[in-house]
Every structure is written in C-alpha cells, then in structure tokens.
Symmetry: D2
Subunit: 187 residues, 4 copies
C-alpha cells in the first residue's frame, strides 16, 4: 500500500510538517506501508484563479495530482487557522479538484493537526473534512490533534513517547481499514 503524507502549511519549521513526517517514519519503520512525504513548498501554487486555469492548470498542481493519484491513502497534518481549514490546504484542494479525473475522489484520508494552543486544532480538523468529503474522499472518522505542539517534538523532529503511541495506534487502525480494501482491489 502506498501512502502520501503532506502538511497544510508552507512554513519551513512547521510542526505539522514534522507531524506528517513522523507519521511517514512510523509507517515505514513498522513496515505497514510504503510512505512518502511531500512538501507543498515544492509544489508552489498560485491562489486559485479561473483566469489562470483557462490558460492551463499549473504544472505544480499536475505534479501533486500525480502523486495523489498514485497513492492509496493520504495522511495530512494541517494547522487550524481562525477556527477552520488552512488556506494553504484549501487552495491545494481547490486546484486538485480541477484535475480530471479528480485525484482525491475515492481516496482514504487521515487528518492530523498540530497546534500551539490547548485545543490542538480540533475545530480546524472538523472543518477540513468537508471539502475532501465533497470530492468523494473517505475521511477516516478518527483524527488526532496534538496540542502544545511547539514542545512536542525533540530536536530530531521526533514526537515524545505518549504521542508516538497515540499516533501509532491511529495509523494502525487507519492502515488496517484501508488495507483490506486496497488488497481486495489489487486481487
């Protein structure tokens, strides 16, 4: 099974990038899936603009769409901005939705959120489900929010123990859920 992970943030030192990378590391180390991290900074996109689209969907969008299409499942760690979805994530979704066939349709998606505050981005997680579901993606019901994320990673970008265990349990449940379907599809 192939998992693509990315973060809904552009900032180089983003805790959500660390969170997504940590998920990739756990999946690979436990042999649960082939997993890769994509940095949205490597897929620079303009703000969605129908006039730009008319002269062609940007190559960065097409390149990300290919990686999404190639994956069986997505793990997305995303910040909450103003109680809702991050603009970076929303913009990526909106561009991806213009590629036909829509690469997000039918994908399995696991949402994570790292947040500096105490609520851990719980409102942003729920708000972020909607556009994925509107595009036909299966968003896993369980999600994980990581409060106080500023101090949750050590200098190597590794999560502390308790959070690692929580993430590992969630990833196993997610992969178990997706795996049965993907295996069947492959059979």
């Amino acid at each position: 099974m192939k998992v693509l992970a990315f973060a809904g943030s552009l900032r180089r030192d983003s805790t959500n990038k660390k969170f997504a990378r940590e998920a990739v590391g756990l999946l690979v180390r436990h042999g649960q899936a082939s997993a890769e991290f994509a940095d949205l900074r490597d897929y620079p996109m303009p703000l969605y603009d129908g006039d730009i689209e008319r002269s062609g969907i940007p190559n960065s969008v097409l390149a990300l769409a290919n990686r999404v299409a190639d994956a069986d499942a997505l793990v997305i760690a995303t910040p909450e901005y103003n109680g809702s979805i991050s603009s970076v994530l929303k913009n990526a979704i909106d561009w991806l939705s213009r590629v036909k066939p829509v690469p997000l349709a039918g994908k399995h998606v696991l949402l994570l959120a790292a947040s500096p505050g105490g609520w851990g981005g719980i409102r942003g997680l729920w708000h972020s489900r909607v556009p994925f579901e509107a595009l036909g993606a299966h968003v896993f019901p369980q999600m994980m929010s990581l409060p106080a994320a500023g101090s949750a990673f050590d200098e190597r970008g590794r999560l502390t123990d308790a959070s690692t265990q929580q993430l590992q349990t969630l990833l196993s449940a997610f992969i178990g859920h997706v795996g049965s379907r993907v295996g069947l599809r492959a059979a």
Copy 2:
C-alpha cells in the same frame, strides 16, 4: 455608514464580483450607505506562509486591512468551492487575521453567494461564516444565494428584477440592523 464590498474570487468575469458590485450600486442609489467595491485582484497576496510573515506582512494585506478597518460593515459575495469556503477568501481572512488589531473583529458582515449550479452555494455560505465568527465578526444570519448565476446578470452586470428585489430587501434589513449600532457609536 461605510460599507466595503468584495468578492471571494479573483477571476475578472466573476459573477460574485458582479454580485458584490450590484450590492454597492443598490446601497448607493438608495442612499443607504456610503459603499465601495474592492477587487481582491488589486490586493495580490501570496498564500499564507509564516516565513513570509516573519519578514513582514505584505503591503497588499495591510492596504486591504486599512480598508476593512475603515468600514462599518462588509458585504462579501463568494463562490463555493468543493462544498466549502473559497481558497481566495480563506487566504484573505488568514492574512487579515495577522494584522493587529484584527480589522475583522467586531465588524458586521453580510454574505452572498453566486453559483452556476442549482444550490446557489448554500454549503459554501455556511462554511464561510466560521472564520469570520472565530475572529469576532458579527455575520448577519440571513444570507442570499443566487443559483444559475451565469444567466442572472445582463450585459451591464445588472441583476434581473426578482433577484434585485431580494437583494434590496436583504440589504435594507442588514443596514437597518447595523445602522442602529453604528449611529449609536457615532453619537
């Protein structure tokens, strides 16, 4: 009373820009408020990025923030993308939220939506309320969605009669609601 109107879309021929402009026209023609339209294309913003912010909030954001701060109320016409808020609008909100004091806090906001489809962007409207409310804006409970917007405007960009009446009624209710407060504040 001062109203600032804009659209959550960049496209030059955007029906939501026409919708916002029509609201401005009605307010001015009926002497209900001083009203202006701002085209977000004139305030080009990068996707929100904490690294950019660290070297300074872009001038385009500061300029829009000044116009928002100067207004008593906002009328925003916005498309629905993938069942939720437009990435252009979300990005503008996220940048504006980084200006202190937050110019959206305490503002009165009326949301409109023009949509090519039959549901008129009703899901996008409800999704769009959230970040405004999270920032302390008073979003007017009534909203107006305009389905089949591709044929709703004539070549001068004017709405057909029935929709004009609906918009006028909504604007009057909104201005009446806001006006009492603004008058009081000014007194």
Copy 3:
C-alpha cells in the same frame, strides 16, 4: 450483507420513511443485500436525560442498538430541521452512544434526505454527518437529497423513475464499497 434502514422522522406519512423504505426495496429486489426498515415510532425514546440513564437505558434504545449492532451498514433518510440535524435523529444517536460498545462505531452509513423545499435538505445532510463520524462511523461521502419530496412518491410510495435511478446508482456504489470490507471480514 445486512443493511438496516430508518428515517430521522416520527411522522407516519413521512417522506423520509418512504425514501428509506424505497432504498430497502431496491436493495432487496436487486439482491444486493439483506435489508430491513425500522420505524423509530416502534422504538419510542424519551429525550436524552442523564437522570433517566442512571436508572437504566430504556429498552427501546437497547432494542434499536441490537438491530444496529446486527447490521453491517445503515441507510438513514432524514429531514433537515432549521438548517441542521433532525432532533429525532440526534436523540436516537445520543441514546445509542450510551450503549457500550457503541453500536454505531465502525458502521458504514449512507445518508439520504427528502425535503419539501428546493434545496433538498443539503445543509441537514452535512450537519448530520458529524455525530456519526464523532462516534467512529464511516459516513459515505456521496449523499442524496430529494427536493420537492411531497410529489416524488406515487400512491404506492414508489419514487419516480429518474430519482429511482439516482438512488439505485448511489446504493450500488455504497454496497460495493461496504461489501468488499464485509466480505473480507467474514472470510
């Protein structure tokens, strides 16, 4: 595969009951699943009240919980009340959530909505996803809203042709999605 269908409405002549029954009929006639309809009127529940719960979860709740637990998937047709979930459906969910293990956890759920109005309950559908997902159910991304439902059923309670086709297509997609997992689980 076993499907349990019910409606988020108590009214005897409810169009949502007709909608749920029509889904059952299609599933059975096409041999896609073993399917049954449950009328919530046969499971009379008090409004959720922690004091009642302390003296025991009502038998009606336990009986419905058993039927839910016994099903692989749920098809729920539900009205929209005031832009959001029906109180009848929310109350059933809240009671079911007090039975351990929670019978809704891990279930596959398809949401339908019949509505007298033109929007077909689209806001109610999206609002209704949330408590199911919070309880760990997999709500199918695609949903079906039936506008103008007052005239959508003939005197035998059968849908007109175009809507039947739309419902059949959705049911096939849903059963196909669930079936692979259930088959695998059974294997």
Copy 4:
C-alpha cells in the same frame, strides 16, 4: 433589558444548569439586566413529531415560546453530545421554530458550554450556532467553554474565581452589544 437563560440539558444536577444560573446571578448582581433562569425540565416536550403538531403545538412549547419572545436576549449553556448539539436543545429549537412568529428570530444569543472533558464542548458550541442562525438569531461570536466542569462549581453552585471573571467579561461584552440595540428600539 431582559435576559432569559436556560440549559440544553435535563439532568437535575447538570453543570450546564449551574453555568446558566451563574450567568443569571452575575447579570443581576451587577445590575446589567433583568435575568431569569428557565429549567427545561419544567417545559416537558415530546420529541418533535409532525403528527403531534397537527393536533396542536404542546402547551409546554407555547409557554417556553412566550418566555423567549418576552426576552431581549438569551444565554444558553449547553452540553456537547457526540461532537455536536445536544438533542434536548435541538428538540427545543425545532419545536420553537413551529410557533409563528418564530420567537427566536432576531434574538441575541450567547452560547456557553460546560463539559466534563478537556475540550470544554467547543465542537458542540460551533454546531449549536447553526440552527439559531438558520432561524434568524444573532449568535454572539464569542462563546465560553468550561472544561473540567465537574470540579468548576463549589457546593453553592458558584464558579471559581478565574472562570467567574471570564464569564463576567463575556457577559459585559454581550450585554454591551445587545444593549445599544435594545435601548434604541425602546426609544
């Protein structure tokens, strides 16, 4: 100005009832408003059922509708059930929406949430805004969630100091916002 406060819970020992009563106490002690608490247990309502409605809206609903209509503003403390609105509150709203004119239309509403858990009902608060706004109520953007509510009240049902201060600040902002409008209406 008249404020009516109630809780979206029936349980006698409900922390949300204590929270609503504490808001009433603060308003009265500070002379900010005439304020009363209504216990929904005194307005016993059946689950919403169109067949019941056809033979007449229950007297308990009409009595509560009168109290709501008579108030300028509502303060509602409500639990979160399964990530969303409480069934008790939703049922009260659905019944109230059947009384014409709808007593909730145009009312100012402040939402509070007491929760035994760590998130303090934040998802429930946001979910609870929707039906009020759909009915034309002005829900105050700021809300207050009280986590770990089981230990937040002393034996007299009074909040601890820090939470009292937070509630007082919020109530003052709310009353200040509503008061200007109500004063104007009365003039």
